[in-house]
Amino acid sequence: MMDQTYFLSLLVFSPLLGIIALAFVPKEQEQMIKLIGFLATLPSLFFALLAFVQYLSGYDINSLAEKRNWIHFGKFAFLNKNTFTVDYELGIDGFALVMIVLTTILATLAAVASIHIKKEWKGYFMLFLLLEIGMLGVFAAENLVLFFIFFEITLIPMFFLIGKWGYFEKEKAAYSYLIYNGIGSAILLLVILILFARTGTSNVALLKEIFNDPAAQAQMMAPISEDLRYGLLIALLVAFGVKLPIVPLHSWMLRVHVQAPPSIVMLHSGVLLKIGAFGLIRFGLGLFPEEFRDLATFIAILGVINLLYGAFLAFIQNDFKMVLAYSSISHMGIVLIGLGALNEAGIQGAIFQVVSHGLISALLFFLVGVLYERVNTTMIDKLGGLAKAMPLTAGFLLAGAMASLGLPGMSGFVSEFTAFLGLFAAKPLIAAIGALGIIMTAVYLLRAVLTVTYGNANRDYAGVMDIRLVEAIPVLLLVALIVLIGVYPNILAEPLQATLEMIMNGLGG
């Protein structure tokens, strides 16, 4: 059914078609450009959903792996064909597949949200589609060098998208983004180079094999000492910690949340932050399980700090976008909490949170876009009683807040619950402190959302229009997905079991 030799490449690179098509469209053709931009996200979405459905019905996902010779270094080929080569290798497991599905869905919806973009649509959508390629590639890459390349591909379009189409302080936000992520990338590159130099490979599966097998380690170009392993893991923690972000590496993402256009924040908060979590799980936990175990308590504490720090700060923000930005920090704390638990429940909770928060933050930022379009502000104290003029928008906003604060029946609850279930087994005391975050989340979200939608109506906004149909469809889709995962979480849990089992095996039980 699926052409296995090209399937993943098609999935990753199909937005390129849109970029090419856009190149031939005159830049004034707003409608045409928006339509092409939207349509270009659909092939990837289709392929991703196809793979997901096939996987659910028992298809072996490993057969999708692709491998083509690419780069050779030095003259080692006569010794061992696989040493010091970087091949073009794509491949996915259940976790990566889930991330790809998430990415394609959010990309399509963010393309819809891009109707609010006011200028230079052509450049916008070309960068937008390039960004999508980068994100998809990150999840599909089978070796570290390829991963890094895709990782960097996300960085550049994002820089321009923030800097050009953002709000008032967009340039500052864009540079802040570039510098922080640049440093993160540099550290990541260092780790990748060290691994490559020592082992002669950057293939993730191969690296895992080498690390697990003492005989293979002896054959390495140069051994990796225990200390170096810790060093590498901590470097990964910092590199991906910038992305996630882990407090105190977060200040860049606040600016991005506030300054970038909402459609881009949907992708930023929904997918790009998750690359941090993905990297930590796949490389940090995947390559250095023993060392990760030793750092677990530390990571759990970082998680609780993230959770509470973000929650308390979200409580006193006046800009609704800032509330959501700190809320993202807080919610990424749950990912760390789950990883710190380092048991089945914890890790599954962390992965669930990655997906769930991706959907929820995309929903909330979509609504922010809808709101800003009509009232030209996101300052909480200037708004109020909007449920009168825009009952549907207000209702969706409340639904988003409920999802975000972990209301059962929605995806946020399943992830939060599973992560805490894990941490209570491993470190009950840290978990008990973290549980305070569950209360604070409700406090800051209700404060923000109710101030905007409930109470006395601000007369200036009495006549604003409610959400339009074209906007309501993506919102309904997101809500439906959030509820689907909340009501029937196994639709997400089943595809993850193989990955989970592999991680648990790596941890030794």
Partner: protein
């Protein structure tokens, strides 16, 4: 019927979904959909109850969430306790659906109101039918959502907004306790199933400390939901919601969920003496504490709200005193007579457009149906003999006495006196005497409103006879069948006399003060102004929370804000400055002099050679 009992909660869910989708077009016809679907639920519940009378407990489950090697399940169970609850909940919900057709008539958001009612009823029935703690927790939160939405129904009012937010957050504080208790218990038992938990407790595989700890944490959740001290403050504020909602959610069903939870987990609590005592003390204290506040309030709904808090305290006291049947029995009778009182109060408010009892009076003649029905409810809650509340309250007192909780027993007796007093104070002020300002054009409510009240009135009188020391303890025998719990068949008869005497005394005093007016009503406020103010301001608990918890949260937030601004940002700026400094230093090196470049090259090379020599090329 029983094997399909899972369908019962789904009818109201359909009502919610249908009305959400097309309510706008149906306008006030939405009521018929809501009424019809809850009626189906009610009929189904009754059939299930009758079937369960002669059938064993039924339980069916499916995998809900797979976590590696663990499987969490979801499903349903039909046992004596929850088949009874199904009927109570669906009946009261059905009656409130019907009543609301009159009460909410003319409201702009009429369909939304019915949609929310459907959502709440779905969640409440789902809660009742859950066979495990996790599923209970899920619906537990969803009833909270229903409650939140309906309290905030008049969203444009600042008070309603504040009350809704407060209700959600206060109950969530309790819910976190429940969540932690539940998870701790899970790791002891490796299951959320009630049956597994009880089996493990019975087998003694769970340590005594763990039982006590988790039982008390779960009880914290019940405290939040059932408005027990110290998490009670949201419940009186919840009266901002429409009155039918107060009857359904904040009197008969959701607030009783805490009691229901403790009753469901009764074998767990029984295994820990400390947990039982905690439940009894919190319940007993809340009973008298809330009753004392109810003595002086002037808002008709708030008086009823404090009375609800107080009566829920009674139920907790009963459960904590091992009076399982007494607690559940009172839960049932209270659901009927308190729903009746709220609906009757709503009928009055509907007619006079005020909630201030100082502005009412002399409505008896104008509302010939509402008034006697309110009186029935008042008699029932006051524990006047032959009414339902009398039997259940007496059971509670007996339980407290036989358990040996003497102090709590006497507290409950005093609370019973208070209850009779403030309820009749309410009755006399509203219905008797001269008509005061607001009641000129008051008239009886329409039939859709009085019919549900009539049904509840009948139940408020007769519901007690399913479990009496005179005619037989049918309810108790059935609830405890197959367990080693038993009903108190023999109780000291003086308890019944004491209970009767205090309630009659309370009524008599209320009559002297507010009916006959031979005693000054301002007795308390003039003689003891301080205690009057303390009571009137609800012991200043809200103010206390504002000064402590709320400000503490704000202070922590401010602290983090400064950390964020000065330390995190400061460090980032310092790094930036450092980079810039190095850049500038580097720029200075590039001065066009070849000697300088040569020197730098040599030094760099030397450094690299040293590093190579020290490390052998690899770290």
């Amino acid at each position: 019927m029983m094997e399909n009992a899972w369908i019962i909660p789904l009818f109201p869910l359909f009502s919610f979904l249908i009305l959400l989708a097309v309510g706008k077009r149906l306008k006030e016809n939405s009521a018929y959909i809501g009424i019809l679907l809850t009626f189906i639920s009610f009929v189904y519940s009754v059939m299930v109850l009758f079937e369960r009378l002669n059938a064993p407990t039924l339980k069916a489950e499916q995998v809900w969430l797979t976590i590696g090697t663990m499987e969490l399940t979801a499903g349903f169970e039909v046992n004596p306790l929850n088949s009874l609850m199904l009927v109570v909940v669906s009946l009261v919900s059905f009656l409130v659906h019907m009543y609301s057709k009159g009460y909410m008539h003319g409201d702009e958001r009429f369909p939304i109101f019915y949609a929310y009612l459907g959502l709440f009823t779905f969640a409440m029935l789902g809660l009742v039918i859950s066979p495990n703690l996790l599923q209970t927790y899920i619906f537990w939160e969803l009833v909270g959502l229903g409650s939140f939405l309906l309290i905030g129904f008049y969203f444009y009012k600042e008070e309603a907004k504040a009350a809704a937010k407060k209700a959600f957050i206060m109950t969530r504080i309790g819910d976190v306790g429940l969540l932690i208790g539940m998870i701790l218990l899970f790791w002891e038992v490796k299951s959320f199933e009630y049956a597994d938990i009880f089996a493990a407790v019975q087998a003694g595989t769970v340590s005594e400390t763990m039982i006590t700890l988790s039982a008390i944490l779960i009880f914290v959740g019940a405290v939040g939901k059932s408005g027990q001290f110290p998490l009670h403050t949201w419940l009186p504020d919840a009266m901002e919601g429409p009155t039918p909602v107060s009857a359904l959610i904040h009197a008969a069903t959701m607030v009783a969920a805490g009691v229901y939870l403790v009753a469901t987990l009764f074998p767990l609590y029984e295994a820990s003496h400390i947990a039982m005592l905690t439940v009894a003390i919190v319940g007993g204290f809340t009973a008298i504490f809330a009753a004392s506040i109810g003595l002086v309030q002037t808002d008709i709904k708030r008086v009823l709200a404090y009375s609800t808090v107080s009566q829920l305290g009674y139920m907790m006291l009963a459960l904590g005193s091992a009076g399982y049947v007494a607690g559940v029995f009172h839960l049932m009778t209270h659901a009927f007579f308190k729903a009746l009182l709220f609906l009757a109060a709503g009928s009055v408010i509907h007619a006079v457009h005020t909630q201030d009892i100082e502005k009412m009076g002399g409505i008896w003649k104008k509302m010939p149906l509402t008034a006697p029905l309110f009186l029935i409810g008042t008699l029932a809650i006051s524990g006047v003999p032959l009414f339902s509340g009398f039997f259940s309250k007496e059971e509670i007192l007996v339980a407290a006495w036989t358990r040996g909780n003497t102090v709590l027993f006497w507290l409950a007796v005093v609370a019973a006196f208070f209850t009779a007093f403030y309820m009749f104070r309410l009755f006399f002020l509203v219905f008797t005497g001269e008509a005061r300002s607001e009641v000129k054009d008051a008239h009886e409510s329409p039939f859709v409103m009085t019919l549900p009240m009539l049904v509840l009135g009948g139940l408020a009188v007769f519901a007690g006879y399913v479990n009496t020391p005179w005619f037989g303890t049918f309810l108790g025998d059935w609830l405890t069948e197959g367990t080693d719990m038993h009903v108190h068949h023999e109780a000291p008869s003086w308890i019944m006399i004491v209970a009767t005497v205090v309630s009659l005394l309370g009524i008599f005093l209320a009559w002297l003060m507010y009916g006959k007016k031979s005693l000054s009503r301002d007795w308390l406020s003039s003689r003891m102004p301080i205690s009057y103010h303390v009571l009137f301001n609800k012991y200043y608990i809200d103010e206390f929370y504002q000064l402590t918890v709320v400000y503490a949260a704000k202070a922590v937030s401010m602290l983090f804000k400064y950390i964020d601004r000065f330390i995190v940002e400061g460090a980032a700026n310092a790094v930036a400055a450092l980079t810039q400094g190095i850049g500038k230093a580097g720029a200075r090196l590039q001065n066009g002099q070849v000697q300088m470049y040569g020197a730098v090259t040599i030094i760099g090379l030397a450094a690299l050679v040293v590093i190579l020599a020290l490390t052998g090329g690899y770290l």
